[in-house]
């Protein structure tokens, strides 16, 4: 796989810190895994940071990969845009081993990015980040009228919904009729 490997951010150093001499037991070296999104850019993430994701944590918990094996088998999340996966990785690194704050001001304010993030986070099962994202989504419509909400979130009216439903039925009917005619032609 041709890919660009990206190291972890400064919030999560790649190399484990050395234990003080006075410590009784030596620290176990931190293990790392690799993930990539739709853009194939590989992100190196510590197991500690990945614990935020119930999905990934479940996947890696029984793998017992060596560093080389992990590097050779990055987890592909091709349904997640690269920049969105980068945001998720950054968040996991920033909150590795830390209590999660009540609010997160670093979440994207752009509607498209936020919904992508929501869907990715939901898929990756990152509970705390999903909660933050949902709050952010709710904030998008704070103080807005029904018309404004409909516009911001592109919610079709009931009439538009009904028209779309009729159109879909009509199309399905035509397709079914076409298939029946084709089958009859084949039979002849």
């Amino acid at each position: 796989m041709s890919s660009t490997e990206q190291g972890t951010s400064s919030a999560a150093p790649a190399e484990p810190t050395t234990a003080p001499e006075s410590a009784a037991a030596p620290e176990v070296p931190e293990s790392f895994y690799y993930v990539h999104g739709k853009d194939k850019v590989v992100h190196k993430v510590s197991a500690g940071a990945l614990q935020h994701s119930a999905l990934i944590h479940g996947m890696i918990s029984n793998l017992g990969y060596t560093e080389e094996q992990a590097k050779a088998n990055p987890f592909p999340f091709e349904n997640i845009d690269g920049d969105i996966l980068q945001m998720v990785v950054d968040w996991c690194n920033q909150h590795k081993g830390k209590p999660t704050p009540p609010e997160d001001t670093n979440l994207p304010k752009q509607k498209e990015k936020l919904f992508d993030l929501v869907l990715a986070v939901n898929y990756l099962e990152i509970k705390e980040l999903l909660t933050y994202c949902c709050k952010q989504v709710a904030m998008m419509v704070k103080g807005k009228s029904p018309e404004e909400i409909r516009e911001i979130w592109m919610i079709p009216t009931d009439a538009e919904d009904e028209a779309a439903e009729k159109e879909a039925k009509k199309r399905a009917g035509k397709e079914a009729a076409g298939e029946t005619a084709a089958a009859a032609g084949d039979a002849k």
């Binding site: 739709k38 996947m59 793998l63 088998n73 990055p74 987890f75 592909p76 999340f77 091709e78 349904n79 997640i80 509607k111 498209e112 990015k113 919904f115 992508d116 929501v118 869907l119 990715a120 939901n122 898929y123 999903l130 909660t131 949902c134 709050k135 989504v137 709710a138 419509v141 704070k142 103080g143 807005k144 009228s145 029904p146 404004e148 909400i149 409909r150 979130w153 592109m154 919610i155 079709p156 009216t157 009931d158 919904d161």
Partner: protein, 319 residues
């Protein structure tokens, strides 16, 4: 193991493509005003919003308007355009609301068709007709801690027979020790002696003791008794007119059958002021606490004036 992940769909990016469970999670974090707006955008959104409960600290309902208070600060006031809107909107709020306090202010000739179950800890009725009270009580979910019925402002059709049925209910349901029912009567209501007579008639076979001020009855549970207490003491000297004019307060409480008379709580102001805080105050924390002491020993009704009480009194065991 990881190969099949790439078969998952590519996500789109607007509200309509968000799964239902995520939408619900977002709605849960919305305040009430935004939920109301969202439910007006489309049928599908309405059904989602309507499926979500919301905690409401206090709700006051009138036929013409309602007022909601949310913790920590949000509040909402809205007038209804007509009675149809009042019924629809009130029922919607009752359906989704989980109330700490809820007040109903429906007066004569106003009728609310309650269709939804009501979840609330403390319910108050202010001058509501008997029908409203019964309708609401029938719709209450479990978890109610207190019910207050204020009939002071003119509505006066509560039958004591119905209120006394509370005791029967407690007996039948074996209510917990400490369960309380309090009521007051004004000059418009049945006189206290009549109340005592009805109570004694109801529970002739259950009477444990009758001191005049307190009637104690046994329940089907040998460990539980019910105590009916009268709050204020008057000496009417068979003066019917004066008895009719005076306020009176009563309390029913489930007690342990082991409770001795010396253990009765004589500080009646603590519970009287809950019913009528305008005219009575709880001075229990005051070391002098003279109001309660004197209240229990009033010789005649002239001694109750603007809430001030005469200390020169003797005990009265008559109702």
């Amino acid at each position: 193991m990881t190969e099949n992940l790439s078969n998952d769909p590519i996500y789109n990016t607007n509200w309509c493509d968000v799964p239902k469970e995520i939408k619900l999670k977002c709605i849960k974090t919305m305040e009430f005003k935004e939920r109301l707006s969202l439910r007006c955008t489309a049928k599908t959104e309405r059904s989602l919003v309507d499926s979500q409960k919301i905690k409401i600290f206090c709700g006051r309902f009138y036929m013409s308007h309602f007022q909601l208070n949310f913790l920590p600060i949000e509040s909402m006031f809205r007038s209804f355009k007509n009675s149809d809107e009042a019924v629809e909107f009130t029922n919607y709020i009752l359906k989704i609301g989980v109330f700490r306090f809820i007040d109903f202010h429906y007066h004569d000739l106003e009728a609310m068709n309650f269709t939804e179950q009501i979840s609330a800890e403390c319910i108050s009725f202010h001058s509501s007709e008997n029908k409203t009270v019964v309708d609401v009580l029938q719709k209450l979910k479990a978890g109610v801690k207190s019910i207050m019925i204020n009939a002071k402002e003119g509505i006066n059709d509560y039958a004591f027979d119905e209120i006394l049925a509370i005791s029967h209910m407690w007996i039948n349901e074996d209510s917990e020790i400490g369960t309380i029912f309090q009521l007051s009567r004004t000059y418009q209501g049945p006189r206290p002696s009549e109340f005592q007579r009805i109570f004694l008639e109801h529970f002739t076979d259950h009477i444990v003791s009758n001191t005049g001020k307190r009637i104690r009855i046994r329940t089907n549970n040998p460990d539980h008794h019910i105590l009916l207490e009268r709050g204020l003491d008057y000496n009417f000297d068979d003066d019917d007119e004066r008895e009719v004019c005076c306020d009176q307060f009563f309390r029913l409480i489930v007690i342990s059958a082991e409770m001795k008379e010396s253990e009765y709580d004589d500080k009646c102001m603590k519970w009287i002021c809950v019913i009528d805080s305008e005219n009575y105050s709880d001075y229990d924390d005051d070391p002098d606490a003279y109001v309660n002491e004197y209240l229990e020993n009033i010789e005649n009704d002239d001694q109750v004036e603007n809430g001030e009480l005469n200390p020169n009194v003797e005990d009265d065991d008559d109702w």
